[in-house]
């Protein structure tokens, strides 16, 4: 066991972790931040996506100890200061970009990372960026639409309400 310290959603935290403890496990089980979901064990599904020092990372692919000293943002840190939904979260709700909600935290974190780098992504940019995040419910239609809308683009022409 080693002491691991990091800043999670702006709050300093410190706890013991085994060397093999994954960051996803540390967030969920040690810190109780269960918004980060684990959907696979091969780093393929992206449900556990968080931001580490501003970069998008699959938290099941990183040991907690590797994140010592890092600045982490999880889905719990994505709402506005007053608790209302952030712009990306609001766009997902507005455009029905989620159904069962399990992949959603990873999708929102992936979308935030994309828009930070590419404020007006094309449909192809979005689809390519999301290729590491699996969703089984939406067929991706409304997720792509929501991200386009969150970036301020007109989605009125995209088929279906």
């Amino acid at each position: 066991m080693a002491q691991v310290s990091m800043t999670v959603n702006g709050k300093a935290v410190s706890a013991e972790a085994e060397g093999r403890t994954l960051l996803s496990q540390f967030l969920r089980e040690t810190l109780g931040l269960t918004g980060t979901h684990v959907g696979c064990d091969t780093g393929q599904c992206g449900a556990c996506t968080v931001h580490v020092n501003g970069r998008m990372v699959k938290s099941c692919n990183m040991f907690a100890a590797e994140a010592d000293g890092a600045r982490i943002t999880t889905i719990e840190g994505m709402a506005e200061a007053d608790g209302s939904l952030g712009a990306i979260q609001a766009a997902f709700r507005e455009h029905h970009g989620l159904q069962c909600g399990f992949c959603t935290p990873g999708m929102v974190m992936a979308a935030a990372a994309l828009l930070a780098d590419n404020p007006k992504p094309s449909e192809a940019d979005i689809r390519a960026h999301l290729s590491g995040n699996l969703c089984r419910c939406t067929g991706y239609h409304n997720i792509v639409k929501a991200i386009m809308a969150a970036s301020g683009q007109d989605v009125g022409a995209i088929a279906a309400e």
Partner: protein, 787 residues
């Protein structure tokens, strides 16, 4: 579109806020005080006799509480099968035992042999690796036809063979069907595979058993689409716990698609172990484990033949299908290739004679059961592919051939036992031609050709039977359950309502859509209605959510309960206004006396019900709470027409979906936003089946596509924006909402459209291709072009 947020309004989902902020409560997010963790030791071989399980070293490892083996379950019941099929000779299917932990033999990779319970999951995992298992390996049977050979190794030694059943439908029509084929002007034959799939909801399964020794009460928290069904099956058949001492909770569930209908061994184990250890016991599946323990789907091998007369009218269909059951019978497995498949073989067409033969086969593979669509995609795929092939053989337009044979008068009794109450297949095809811009296809094909790509168009129809199902009927067909649904509507004194439903939402948005119905009936804001689901402790006995049944059956129960509420509220209102009950009208949340200006508000009546001071207690009970159970009179029959346009790279065989359009008739619509989403999701899965997904076993019974590295899930860059339309609406004639169900349509209707399109693309370049089996990988498509 109504502005009041009632029926027909695209209300935003209320469940989204918790899911978007990380505050959902999925089963793995729950932890019970004093909880232990279990890791299962699973068979790594497909077939063998278990000769020894040595747990001594593992039991001494840190944190280990107890290791369970098959011996601990020798006196415990096995997992039951919920549907008994009778074969074509009148004999019941062969039904093997399905133990919670292996009893002397393992029958598929992933079969559970032992269970290590420890203080932490990591400790349990470490100890599980130290459990020594000795297996005397036996030859595995994987291929269905080989499994039926006389000298094939038997999956179950106590059964006569690997044949579960040989089902004929309609057996009495067989001779007439043969005669129709003998007299046919043209017969089209197609052999095809409906590829084996894995449902893969993004949330892996989880089970937590809990036991209160003081009261003798067991609780199971589980990732289920139907907690009451699990309570009944596990309590009555496996563990012998009466339902009043067993609570099953399915909280937020991260998708199901059928795979979370079934009662699984891990649920029974955790409930059993919690009592044995007097500690909560939690199991969280890894994705790798999900691949080898979640029920798989599809896996049919079929020869279908279509007979036509000289005028191209369909005269008969006969099919010969082998359906894989896997190593054991999962909960509803026998029903899928039979009653959910054979009854849909008429499709949207007038075909007077149909005979379906299905041989269900045991193999050394994971059990196969219902996956989104369940039997209906298999029927649709066969039918819509063979029609396309027939059109090409006859040199006629495939859409025209379909239109010529459409059923146009309703109700229509098919030759395969079901009666379609309503539909309009011409209208959905017309709508499809419009939204898919079929008139512009030739120009788009030319554009593709200019880029060096082959463009193809595939069109097909589908029909499905949803809203499962009339209990009397399914009882005759072998179901060991009723298939009604329930709702309790509880009105509070201050006018708000809580609806407790037996349906379960795991992505479908019941918490948003169901209140729209109740609010609409009363004329109040939907925010006054709350939906409770997923906990047997506070919801009436219900059969859960699958088969696109929640609104058609569960919603109907809710309507019936609300009608009872309104009827009683009118009596109370009549008393308050000193009027005759028959004169009371309810509109916009106000009760009024017809022809007068007298009225009382909804809230006045609800308050009077609970504060019955000025109240006819001699005639009416206080309180305002009603329950209804609704048993449907028939299935519902959503139908539609789909069009897919693909581009094929002639150098690589890579297929891209350029356009996909879906025109569906779901009857009345409660929340069009949610309906669109359901169709999108179904299309994603159907395109996944057609192009990408395949559960592949090698000859030794090893699952080669056992992770997301190998099992190709559709990703955002594999699919386009879809064009969906549900403006063609022929309301269901037998349920109070006129709704039909929309959850499975996309997955049912889309695979043949994709395959039809790819075949069309290849043929446009002169390749004499009539069929390619799914998934249409670049390799397969490229090979087809080389032939």
């Amino acid at each position: 579109m109504p502005a009041d947020g009632g029926i027909g309004a695209p209300n935003k989902r209320r469940e989204d806020v918790r899911f978007l902020t990380g505050k959902g409560k999925y089963t793995d997010d729950l932890n019970r005080p004093g909880q232990a963790h279990v890791i299962f030791v699973r068979s790594q071989v497909a077939h063998g006799n278990l000769t020894a399980v040595n747990t001594d070293e593992a039991a001494a490892m840190p944190g280990v509480i107890r290791i369970f083996t098959g011996a601990d379950f020798a006196e415990v019941g096995g997992l039951p099968c919920g549907w008994q099929v009778t074969d074509r000779h009148g004999e019941p299917m062969q039904e093997p035992a399905h133990p919670v932990l292996a009893q002397g033999k393992v029958r598929h990779v992933g079969d559970a042999i032992a269970a290590v319970v420890a203080e932490t999951a990591d400790q349990a995992r470490d100890a599980a690796e130290a459990v020594e298992v000795e297996i005397d390996e036996l030859p595995a049977v994987v291929d269905m036809k080989a499994a039926l050979a006389a000298d094939a190794p038997k999956v179950h030694d106590d059964l006569s063979s690997n044949l579960c059943y040989d089902w004929g439908f309609v057996e009495e029509n067989k001779a007439a069907v043969e005669e129709a084929f003998a007299n046919a002007a043209h017969v089209t034959t197609l052999e095809l595979v409906n590829n084996r799939l894995i449902a893969n909801p993004m949330e892996p399964r989880v089970a937590i058993g809990d036991y209160d020794a003081a009261g003798g009460d067991s609780t199971l928290y589980t990732t289920s689409q139907n907690p009451h069904v699990i309570r009944l099956l596990m309590g009555a058949f496996v563990l012998g716990i009466p339902e009043h001492k067993l609570r099953v909770v399915a909280p937020d569930v991260g998708g199901g698609f059928g795979s979370k209908i079934f009662h699984y061994a891990e649920e029974a184990f955790c409930t059993f172990a919690a009592k044995a250890l007097e500690r909560p016991v939690k199991w969280t599946s890894t994705r790798s484990e999900a691949f080898i323990t979640d029920a798989h789907g599809r896996d049919h091998v079929t020869t279908i033949q279509l007979a036509l007369d000289a005028d191209n009218n369909f005269t008969a269909i006969r099919t010969d299908t082998h359906a894989n059951m896997g190593a054991y019978l999962s909960t509803f497995a026998p029903s899928v290739p039979t009653w959910l498949h054979g009854t849909l073989m008429a499709g949207n067409y007038r075909t007077p004679l149909i005979y379906v033969n299905v041989k269900a086969v045991f193999t050394n593979t994971v059990p196969v059961d219902a996956y989104r669509g369940a039997g209906r995609p298999e029927a649709t795929f066969q039918l819509e592919r063979v029609i396309d092939k027939a059109a090409r053989e006859l040199g006629v337009d495939p859409i025209a051939l379909r239109r010529q044979n459409f059923i146009t008068e309703f109700p229509y009794a098919t030759p395969v036992a079901v009666e379609y109450d309503t539909g309009n297949y011409v209208a959905t095809m017309d709508k499809l031609e419009e939204i898919a811009d079929l008139a512009g296809f030739d120009a788009r094909r030319a554009e593709s050709a200019a880029k060096g790509k082959l463009r193809g168009l595939g069109v097909n129809c589908y029909i499905e039977a949803c809203g499962i199902a009339p209990s009397n009927l399914v009882g005759q067909l072998g179901a060991r359950a009723g298939l009604y649904e329930s709702a309790t509507v509880r009105v509070n004194a201050t006018g708000g309502l809580v609806v407790m439903t037996g349906s379960h939402s795991h992505g479908q948005g019941h918490e948003t859509a169901f209140p729209q119905v109740v609010a609409d009936m009363i004329g109040i804001d939907p925010s006054m209605v709350e939906i409770v689901h997923g906990d047997t402790a506070n919801t009436p006995m219900g059969m859960g959510t699958y088969g696109s049944r929640s609104l058609a059956v569960g919603g109907s129960a809710m309507v019936r309960a609300t009608e009872k509420i309104i009827a009683k509220a009118k009596k109370i209102a009549a008393h308050l206004m000193e009027a005759a009950e028959g004169d009371i009208e309810l509109k916009d949340g106000q009760f009024s006396v017809a022809g007068t200006d007298k009225s009382v508000a909804w809230g006045d009546v609800t308050l009077a019900a609970y504060v019955p001071h000025n109240y006819p207690l001699e005639d009416i009970e206080p309180g305002l709470e009603e329950t209804a159970f609704y048993d449907p009179a028939n299935f519902t029959y959503p139908a539609g027409a789909y069009a897919c346009e693909v581009e094929v790279d002639p150098d690589t065989g890579k297929v891209t979906i350029e356009r996909f359009s879906a025109a569906d008739d779901f009857g009345n619509i409660v929340n069009p936003m949610i309906v669109d989403g359901q169709v999108h999701g179904g299309l994603g899965q159907g395109i996944g089946q057609a192009l990408l997904e395949h559960a592949v076993y090698d000859e030794d019974g090893q699952l080669l596509s056992g992770s997301y590295m190998d099992y190709a899930m559709p990703r955002a860059d594999d699919v386009p924006f879809y064009t969906v339309d549900h403006s063609c609406q022929t309301p269901c004639t037998h349920n109070p909402l006129g709704v039909k169900g929309c959850g499975e349509a996309g997955a049912i209707g889309s695979p043949p459209a994709v395959v039809n399109a790819v075949v069309d693309a290849l043929r446009s370049a002169g390749h004499d291709v009539t069929h390619i089996d799914m998934p249409l990988s670049p390799h397969r498509v490229w090979q087809a072009m080389q032939a």
